[in-house]
Amino acid sequence: MRVRPDILRTYQGVHTWTGIIAGLVLFIGFYAGSLTMFKYEIQQWAEPISVPVTDPKSTNYQALIDKAIEQYPAQMAAGFELDLLTSDAPLSWYTQGQARGMELDNQLQTAHLHEQQLVLNEQAEHKLADLIDYLHRTAGFIGEIGHDQSGVYILGIAAGLYFLALVSGVIILLPTLVKTFFALRKEKGPSRFWLDSHNLVGIASLPFHLIIAFTVVVFAFHDLIYGGLAQFYGDKPLFERTPPAAQAYNISELTPIDTQILAAKRYAPGYEPIHVSYNALSSTSPSALFKMSNKNAVSRGPDTDYLAINPYSLEVLYTSYPQGEDSFWGNFTASLFSLHFGTYGGDWGRWAYFIMGLFGAFLFYSGNLLWLDKRMKKDAHKTSTHVMAKLTIGVCLGSILAVVAVLLLAKWANLLIGNINHHYMLCYYLIFFISLAYSFKQGTNKASYNGLITLSILTACLPISSAIQGLSDLALLPYYNGYSVDFIALIFSAGFFFIAKRLKQKSVKDKIILDHKTIEFVR
């Protein structure tokens, strides 16, 4: 296909600059996004092995709730959480903080029944899974704007640029696409090989990338867009609200939990409740938000579907379920959510999204390398090129190193420290900035080799830690369920080591891109 040369050049410029501006931020967003696919497994892996205190099959939830309401009416009325699958304490409420927002100091009161007596435990809420999610949504930028993290807006803008980079990338490929799509030309030198694989990954996963780019823009800016859209709706309200009841409810009249669960199950067949969040139970607008899981259906939340009911009247307030024929629009947008969250294909879907996310990160990394290579060949002494090279290595490796260090910290410090969430943050930023500084001080060649070796060692320490902890208390070992995380960590450790070795072995004439020695060398 022919595209006019000057337009092609414009698109080349657009592709280059949008990619360079947004690439590093998106790199973090993507690989952390891969991790979010398994964030609960990772958090569970990091928690100390514990003996189950309850059996979800035989727990008497009604007795538990009744006892808790009897002894702690005010706390329970404010709202509580009920986990229907856990073998730990199923009931909990916040004594400090709340579920919404990114708060690191939340304290939870957990409760379970032991021989008909309420057993209470106070503990800090463990936020490892949320922090992985936070890194995914903000790329680590701190600070808040309104009720959202500022990093969310930064990623929103980056995603907009990324959309432009995708379209422009496709357009500049069009003239040669048919000829070179499946070509991975090794013989023409590493830079050609990197370009080919950059293009192959980009084109092959284009639909995924377009969806991610545009949904991120929506996630970041939906409030503003609704605000704009409201201007065109005139006097029409955008959303209709359920009017509050005339009189406040009283928690002592709460419908039995089994009736509630039955009502939730009846709403649609095939969905099983796994968690309930109760809120404002002594007010005029109480709610019970059911997390409903159906392994055979597409889910529209990050993990499950939602069903909110009034726990007194059992009236349905809100649901994320696919609706009937009359709600084509709701169903359509709901599926866009699941296309971002990767929750439409069960566990295989999660693995596919995990891999696609890593490929996405590769796309940005290779894009940066290609840009660096081109600039190096043109003028090897330009400061900006060197700065970008160091940034690329420092940010990409630093961020991964920091996450692995946090996991390692989580594995060990959870045994010792009550509230570890602040240490996670400190550890992440410390390692990240040390890596960045190291890359600037020692140059990209040394930084990438040493960074990869360190990364390989740290990653290998994850399963080693599991083994040490597991073997130190054999009685608890049967309750350990983090084997898959350990296994994947081993594979990644080997992978990092392999890449590092390759960097070292390459003969000098091959060193154009993959190895940054040329950058140092030309200097």
């Binding site: 040369p5 337009i7 410029g13 907009g160 995708l166 609704y226 859209l229 005139g234 629009w329």
Partner: protein, 98 residues
Amino acid sequence: MTDVKNSRKEPTWLGKSLAGALLGLLLAFILMAFFAWYGPGGIDARDKVQFNMWMIPLLWLSIFSLTYLFNSSKQAWLILGGLNMVLYSLFYILRGGL
């Protein structure tokens, strides 16, 4: 970009970018406004507002990324600006205000 000098036509990405960003956004809003009122289901269709909101960034980014296909940034401004003028005026007449 160094190869710009020897080219017949200069790539004009700044003017086009601005046109795509600003006029593209306005155009996306007005298109979805028409869709909201006069598209299938009308303004009262259940949950349609969510769809309308979702489509705005998609339209915007699509227009934005294709703006560079215009021959010049002047053409981009004229065509996108003209479309906006026509559609916003039409909406104003039909609905008696924004």
